[in-house]
């Protein structure tokens, strides 16, 4: 990963493992996600901040790029055929697109039941409730919950379609840069990946570093990744034309 110059950096915030976050990332800004202890997971959802009916669409994204996972060069499409975000640099190599969110039942079954009254903020949080809390802050709810990305997690499928979680994939300090190509409402949770077999609840903390990347140029590696992405960037540019 290239190091960011201090004048590029807009702000930094740590999301403790298990916790949730949401915020507006403007067109041309980027987030560097850094896995602070290794084995992190960031469940990520994206909405057009000006029209939240337009949202990240897993299927359109995967079929446009003929991929079942994310790495450098890939972009995230909205359901309106526009590029919402781009993976402009990736020190991890594989981010899961298929497996969805952990929920309260799964976390309790795997790690044991906790409650705020006893554990205070050490309670075990789950991804589904985390993102629903954040969606609620923006007037959104269960109807807006679509298939999400899981940054830092690698899950492969064998010939028969059986999934396997690849342990020890992301290491402490690993990072990925996502540039926002639209004004995007970002909603995320740093709770464990649903298929993570670890028996202890120890989700890694994730550092968010917001920085100014600028909008994609003609020679941008994500734009040039495939002809589909070139057309997707044209659709995005038309949306902001005035």
């Amino acid at each position: 990963m290239k190091s960011l110059k201090s004048e590029q950096i807009l702000w930094e915030e740590k999301v403790p493992g298990g916790c949730h976050w949401s915020g507006l990332m403007r067109r041309g800004s980027a987030l560097r996600f850094t896995d602070l202890q290794g084995g992190a997971n960031v469940a990520l959802l994206m909405y057009n901040a000006e029209d939240k009916l337009e949202r990240y669409n897993m299927s359109d994204t995967l079929k446009a790029q003929h991929t079942a996972f994310f790495t450098h060069g890939n972009v995230c499409y909205s359901d309106m055929g526009r590029v919402m975000a781009s993976i402009i640099e990736d020190g991890v190599g594989w981010h899961d697109a298929m497996c969805g969110l952990s929920d309260a039942d799964l976390i309790a079954r795997k790690y044991g039941k906790t409650h705020y009254q006893e554990q205070r903020n050490e309670m075990y949080r789950n991804a589904k409730d985390g993102v629903l809390v954040e969606l609620g802050k923006h007037g959104l709810g269960k109807r807006d919950l679509m298939p999400n990305l899981n940054l830092f997690s690698k899950v492969t499928a064998n010939e028969d379609g059986e999934l396997k979680f690849q342990a020890s994939h992301s290491k402490a300090g690993d990072a990925v840069d996502i540039r926002f190509d639209m004004n995007v409402l970002v909603v995320l949770s740093a709770a464990p990946h649903p298929l993570d077999p670890k028996s202890n609840y120890q989700p890694a903390d994730v550092l968010l570093t917001a920085w100014h990347a600028g909008i994609a140029g003609e020679d941008d590696s994500c734009r040039q990744h495939c002809e589909q992405n070139q057309r997707g960037f044209i659709n995005t540019a038309r949306y902001y034309a005035n």
């Binding site: 079929k63 991929t67 497996c99």
Partner: protein
Amino acid sequence: MSALVESKLSPDSAILNEVCKAGDPWSGIVKKGQIFRILDLEGNQAVDTLFYNADNPEERYSTSDTVQRQGQVYLSTGSVLYSNEGRAMLTIVADTCGRHDTLGGACSAESNTVRYDLAKRPMHSCRDSFMHAIQHSPCVHDRDMTKRDITANINFFMNVPVSENGALTFADGISGPGKYVEMRAEMDVLVLISNCPQLNNPCNGYNPTPVQLLIWNSN
């Protein structure tokens, strides 16, 4: 791929037996315990399908929950279709095709501009059929459903293999004339189908064709 399982049910005893033409939407209610069959009349037809709890459409089929809970990308006999609340909505009880897609989603005018050509926008698409159903189909419209409710769908009969290195391909169909998939409803479900009109890839063998929909009462 799982073993093919045939059904013992005869179309003669079905309480509903309809044909959905190529490019049309279809919607209906399947009550808890009833059996719902989708039959690929001419072969290689993708049937884009969404399910909702008929009493509370905020609860709906969830691709992520279905894939995650079974640790499995494809659907076949024995697969449970889970809701976003983690509840079983339907169970596949017979399948003579062998594999159905969870990842490919529905085609749309907008995604066609990306996948094929900016000039493909006017072509008919599954998303447009879903929007048509939202405006016109009583059992969808009367539940105040909107675009918000159009989530990632199942593509029955569609073959979208995922390789171990993470590549996704749209392969020739493995379905053929007369193949079917049959499922038992575990709750009262609203079914919303787009019988896919896509002409730009092999998901329909470049020739969209009609499908047959049947419902039987529980024994």
